[in-house]
Structure formats: structure tokens, C-alpha cells
């Protein structure tokens, strides 16, 4: 979502979530759909979803806050997830991650000042035999080294 876009309205959110109400266990699919549309799950979604599903607001909030995937505020334009798990560590993943954060001057979960990239930790992308790995938005990249990481960052406009 563009940083200056108008805040999503109750009607907008309802239009996204209501068609999923007939699923068995509909809340996670709804939250994914809302986040897909806005890049985050806005606070305004909580009363709408609790109304559709006849749940307490606290319950909906509790579900949103439980999962690493759902964010309360918009992220940068691109999200770079760097794997921190053991197989990547065995191939120098820690050093690569630290060097990347240093280069960007941010910490985990931080966003570059120009708003281009948010860097997050991820625990395993299933690239354990071609580590270290990262994921830029939906694109997985493996056998990373400093040069390849630099190309990725450049691609993302960091």
C-alpha cells in the first residue's frame, strides 16, 4: 500500500473478508487476504472480523499478535527475509546477515530510511542444501554471498 493511500474503510475490509466466512476455520485466510491487500493488518480490521465471525475483539487481536507473519504497520516497499536457521549458519549465514544489516544501518525488523526494504529474520526456507538463503518478497535466493546479496539489495532499491 502506498504510504499516502487513504486508510482502508470498514466497508473495504468487509468486502475482502466476508466472502471467506463460509470456510471451515476462516480467520487465518481472512487475515492473509487483508494483509495481501494492504501490506499489513490495520487496526480497523479487528472490529470488522470480530463482527463477521462473532468473536471478541480481544480474541481476534490475540490471533493477529500470535503469528509472525501479520504486521500491524506497513513494511518497506520490499521485504527481505534472511534465514537465521542452523543450516544457513553452517554456511556462514550469521556473518552474511550481520554484514547486510550493517550495510543498511538497521537492525532486524528495521526499514531502510528510504522505505525501500524491511529486513526480517526467517527460520528456514527449505534451502538447506544450498545455503545461505534469503527471500526478497516471494522470490527465494540461495547460495548467497556478499556479491549476490549486494545485487539483491540494489534490485530492491536499498
Amino acid at each position: 500500500m502506498h504510504p499516502n493511500a487513504p486508510a482502508p474503510t470498514t466497508e473495504d475490509i468487509r468486502a475482502i473478508a466476508a466472502p471467506l466466512a463460509s470456510l471451515e476455520g476462516p480467520l487465518l485466510p481472512m487475515l492473509h487476504a487483508v494483509q495481501e491487500a494492504y501490506g499489513h493488518v490495520p487496526e480497523a480490521a479487528v472490529p470488522v472480523l470480530s463482527d463477521i465471525l462473532n468473536l471478541g475483539r480481544a480474541e481476534v487481536h490475540g490471533v493477529i499478535s500470535f503469528y509472525h507473519d501479520f504486521r500491524k504497520a506497513p513494511a518497506g516497499k520490499h521485504i527481505l527475509k534472511i534465514c537465521r536457521a542452523e543450516a544457513c549458519q553452517a554456511m556462514g549465514g550469521n556473518g552474511l546477515a550481520q554484514a547486510t544489516l550493517d550495510k543498511l544501518g538497521i537492525d532486524w525488523h528495521g526499514t531502510t530510511p528510504n522505505g525501500a526494504v524491511t529486513v526480517e529474520p526467517v527460520y528456514c526456507l527449505g534451502m538447506c542444501a544450498c545455503a545461505p538463503a534469503a527471500m526478497l518478497d516471494d522470490k527465494v535466493v540461495a547460495r548467497l554471498d556478499d556479491a549476490r546479496m549486494d545485487r539483491l539489495l540494489k534490485e530492491a532499491g536499498a
Binding site: L23, E24, G25, P26, L27, L28, P29, L31, H32, L53, G62, V63, F66, Y67, H68, D69, F70, K81, A85, E86, A87, C88, Q89, A90, M91, V122, Y123, C124, L125, G126, M127, C128, A129, C130, A131, A133, M135, D138, V140, V141, A142, R143
Partner: protein, 505 residues
């Protein structure tokens, strides 16, 4: 000219899409007629992108292929690997679950059937329910997700339960580092999972199924969704499975980045749209699972192995293996290894054989220090334990677990104190918070290891005691098994825990 370029996400992550595009463009500009098939991965990940070309001697492999290699590939001057199935890493395997993976176009149902697909489902449809469950029991198949519980017993419990609705839930929340077999089979042979779930549904009397697939696997989600749509369209799924009187349909559901949702009861809560906290057992999910109904919860590899058991018979499958570990293990060789990838073979092969012989040692060329087997909750095995055969009980006796059969190799530069600290840190990040030993214990564990690192010798005893508490008092394997990597690091590599004070003396 037929050319195969994998669409497996590990191959794509190292440039397979760019190679496929370059082959198409270069061939078009030179007027060469090529048919590019996007297959799954053969599992020889160090060779990816592994391109195969059809020749008189069968499919010949080239890899790793870069975009720069494409002109030579098309001219026939690129040095190759020979017939791909004769590469020693591949030739030594017994491929049952992964028989089609890398061979066929994953989304071509006809190709799937031409390679034995749907034969198992057809056979199951003609069998009484009890015989289907007995067949699974006789095969000796045990849960490949880690716990190793006999699959047939789980199915029998669900079959005998009385309910208006039962479910098959596939646990595809493959969060363990060092494991990628679920991802590979879903991307490389998705119909085998669908077929396995349909057989399970018919066997226990369940008409609905769900695959709970982690959000970190966007490619697998796409392939599975496409495969389910094709299967429904072609009558493999729906009100009359393959024209029979059995109904079975399924959906793919995306996880939301919580490791603990790989635990079956928290997975069920998550699937219901709740916080992914662990449920106390009993009641067993087999009796009160998804939405309180009898539910089979099986790992991807367990379910994807069901079709071959029905195609070839329980005895054929049970013929492989060692002691109580029957059939094949889908080993995932990862981390700092020269030849990493998926290696399917009968249970019983030793850890050392896998690491030294098949994987060819470390990628860095330095000596192996430790191998973590079974994911972040598995023990670090030192080379002194390399004679341990791959088997559930065999690993248990050596203080380890095979889990999902992932193995992460570390060279001698690894600091085992830091790895133990990471295990505690990971547990703290991913704990669902329901039970105290896990939620608080993991945080205290990180602090205690930091005290050891800072030179507090007494903290070692405290850490040991804390691990005992976590092991005995946690509700699920996250808190209960985190002591495995921690204690195995402490006991197997005491030098890394030698305090600074001792070092100074």
C-alpha cells in the same frame, strides 16, 4: 529436442528460471526446436540448476548450469555428467516415495499415471475399509514428521471413531532447519500427496482434507493449489473419487510463520483460526481433532508414501529397512556439505556413511565437527557417534532422534556453545507460551548459557537442571526437545563450554 529444467524452488533460487528462459530464447534465435519441460528436482541440490537433455542414451545431465553455459549446452559442447540416473548419488538410492520426483512434469496428471500414479488409489477403492488400514499397518509405515508413531494405528483409531464428519489433515509446516523433503515432493510430485490423502480419506471414512502449508514456501503453495484444481477437474477429487462411491475433497491452507504450528495440536488450533497454542492430550486428535471431529494428522512424507505402498503392496515396502524402522528414509543432507540434497534409501545406513561417503564431507573442506540430526530440536551428533544406523530406536539409544531425517553438517569452525544458545533463543522466539518450562525456561536458558560464556562455572549445573525441567515439564516437543541440542552440545563438546576463567588458568 527435449530439455528438462527444474521448477523446484531450490533450483529456482540458484537461477533455474533464468536458465530456462535463456534456453528458450537462444534456441528460438538459432532456429533449434526445443521442448522445455519444467520438472521437479532430482534432489542433487549441489548440481542445481541441473538441466537434462534427451539423448539416445536416455536423459543426460548438466549442472550446475548458468546462463553463460546455454549456448554450449545447445551446441552439444558443454561437458556433462552423463546419464543422470547413473550419477552415483542417484544410482545408490532406493526411490519409493520420490520415484517420480524430478522425472515427470509435476502438474501433468497423464505423466503421473504413466509412472504408476493412481494405481494405489484404484486398488484402495476396491478394498474394504478395514483392509486399507491393515495394509498401512502391515507396511510398517511410521510418522515421518518426527514422532515415528505407527501410521496404521492412528488410521485405525480414526476409522473406528463414530462421527458425522472426519478429516485428513496433512502437516506441511516443515519448519525444521535442514529439512526440505516435504517442499520437494509438493513441488515435484504433488499428485502423490493428493493420492495419499484420498486413500487415507477412503480408509478412515473422511471426506474432507486440508494441507496446512507454511507461508515460507510460496512455490509449494502455488504448485499444490494448481494440482488440487487439476485433480478436482479430472475427478480424482470430488463427490465421486475416480468414479467410485467415495467422496473426498481437499484444500490448501497457508500457515502464518509460527514454528510451533508444526506440532499437531497447535496446527489444528491454527487451522481453526485460533492462536497456535498446544492442546493438552488427551483427547487425541484421532478422536477430537479439527473442529472437535476425528482427524488423521500425518506428515507430508507419510501421506506421500501411501500411494507406493498400495501400488506395490505392504510387503514390498516393509521389505526395506532395519528392525522396527521399515521402508525408506528420505534423508536430507544439508548445511556445510560437498554434495547436499535428498537421498532416499532403506533405514539402516549409518550416519557416518551418509556424511562422509554420500555427502563427501564438508563443502569447506575442513573436518566435520558435528551433525545436527532431526532439526532444531535434534541432538548434535559428534563423529564418535557416526556408527549410529538411521532408525528410530537406534538414534534414541544414542541420545538423539531422527525426526524428519534432516541432517545439518558443521565443520570445525562451529562454536557449539553458540549453537546451544541459538537452540534456546529459537525456543524462546517460537514458544507458544502455554506452558511455563518452555516459555520461561528458554529465556532463562539463553541467560544461563551467557553466564557460562562469561566464565561462571556453576552455571553449567544450572543449565543441566533447567534442561531436565524443560524435558519433563513441557507440553510438547518444542520445550521438551530443546534440551537435546543444548545438552548434546554441552556433553559432546565440553571444550566449547570451557569457561574463560578455566581457559586463563
Amino acid at each position: 529436442m527435449k530439455i528438462w529444467v527444474p521448477m523446484d524452488s531450490a533450483a529456482k533460487a540458484v537461477g533455474a528460471d533464468e536458465v530456462a528462459r535463456s534456453i528458450a530464447e537462444t534456441a528460438a534465435s538459432r532456429g533449434i526446436d526445443v521442448q522445455i519441460i519444467r520438472n521437479g528436482s532430482r534432489g542433487m541440490i549441489w548440481l542445481e540448476p541441473l538441466v537434462e537433455v534427451e539423448t539416445d542414451q536416455g536423459r543426460v545431465g548438466f549442472g550446475p548450469v548458468s546462463v553463460e553455459d546455454v549456448p554450449a549446452l545447445l551446441e552439444g559442447t558443454l561437458p556433462g555428467l552423463g546419464p543422470v540416473e547413473q550419477i552415483p548419488f542417484f544410482a545408490r538410492q532406493t526411490r519409493l516415495t520420490f520415484a517420480r520426483c524430478g522425472v515427470i512434469d509435476p502438474l501433468d496428471l497423464d505423466d503421473y499415471q504413466a509412472h504408476g500414479g493412481l494405481a494405489g488409489l484404484r486398488r484402495a477403492i476396491a478394498m474394504p475399509r478395514e483392509d486399507i488400514v491393515t495394509e498401512v499397518t502391515d507396511s510398517g509405515l511410521r510418522g515421518r514428521g518426527g514422532a515415528g508413531f505407527p501410521t496404521g494405528i492412528k488410521w485405525k483409531t480414526v476409522m473406528q471413531a463414530e462421527a458425522d464428519q472426519k478429516y485428513i489433515v496433512c502437516n506441511a509446516d516443515e519448519g525444521d532447519s535442514g529439512t526440505f523433503a516435504d517442499r520437494m515432493i509438493m513441488e515435484g510430485d504433488p499428485f502423490t500427496l493428493i493420492e495419499g490423502m484420498a486413500i487415507a480419506g477412503i480408509g478412515v471414512g473422511a471426506t474432507r482434507g486440508y494441507v496446512y502449508l507454511r507461508s515460507e514456501y510460496p512455490d509449494a503453495i502455488k504448485v499444490m493449489n494448481a494440482a488440487v484444481a487439476i485433480a478436482r477437474d479430472r475427478g480424482v477429487l470430488g463427490p465421486r473419487v475416480l468414479g467410485s462411491d467415495h467422496a473426498f475433497d481437499m484444500e490448501i491452507r497457508m500457515g502464518a510463520g509460527a514454528y510451533v504450528c508444526g506440532e499437531e495440536t497447535s496446527l489444528l488450533n491454527s487451522l481453526e483460526g485460533k492462536r497456535g497454542v498446544v492442546r493438552a492430550k488427551p483427547p487425541l486428535p484421532a478422536l477430537e481433532g479439527f473442529l472437535g471431529k476425528p482427524t488423521v494428522v500425518n506428515n507430508v512424507i507419510s501421506l506421500a508414501t501411501v500411494p507406493v505402498i498400495f501400488e506395490k503392496g505392504a510387503a514390498h515396502y516393509a521389505d526395506f529397512g532395519v528392525n522396527r524402522s521399515r521402508g525408506t528414509a528420505t534423508l536430507q543432507i544439508a548445511g556445510n556439505v560437498r554434495q547436499g540434497g535428498l537421498f532416499e534409501c532403506a533405514f539402516g545406513i549409518t550416519l557416518g556413511e551418509v556424511v562422509n561417503d554420500i555427502a563427501g564431507g564438508t563443502a569447506s573442506g575442513r573436518p566435520v565437527k558435528a551433525v545436527q540430526v532431526g532439526g532444531p530440536l535434534g541432538a548434535y551428533m559428534p563423529i564418535q557417534k557416526f556408527d549410529t544406523p538411521m532408525g528410530y530406536e537406534e538414534f534414541d539409544q544414542k541420545g538423539g532422534l531422527i525426526g524428519h531425517a534432516g541432517m545439518v553438517v558443521f565443520d570445525d569452525s562451529a562454536d557449539m556453545l553458540q549453537m546451544a544458545r541459538f537452540a534456546m533463543e529459537f525456543c524462546a522466539v517460537e514458544s507458544c507460551g502455554k506452558c511455563t518450562p518452555c516459555r520461561i525456561g528458554a529465556v532463562r536458558g539463553v541467560e544461563t548459557i551467557d553466564r557460562i560464556a562469561a566464565g561462571d562455572a556453576a552455571a553449567t549445573e544450572l543449565l543441566t537442571d533447567l534442561c531436565e525441567t524443560m524435558k519433563d515439564g513441557s507440553l510438547c516437543a518444542l520445550g521438551g526437545f530443546t534440551p537435546f541440542p543444548v545438552m548434546s552440545a554441552l556433553q559432546g563438546f565440553p571444550d566449547d563450554f570451557a569457561t574463560q576463567k578455566e581457559a586463563a588458568e
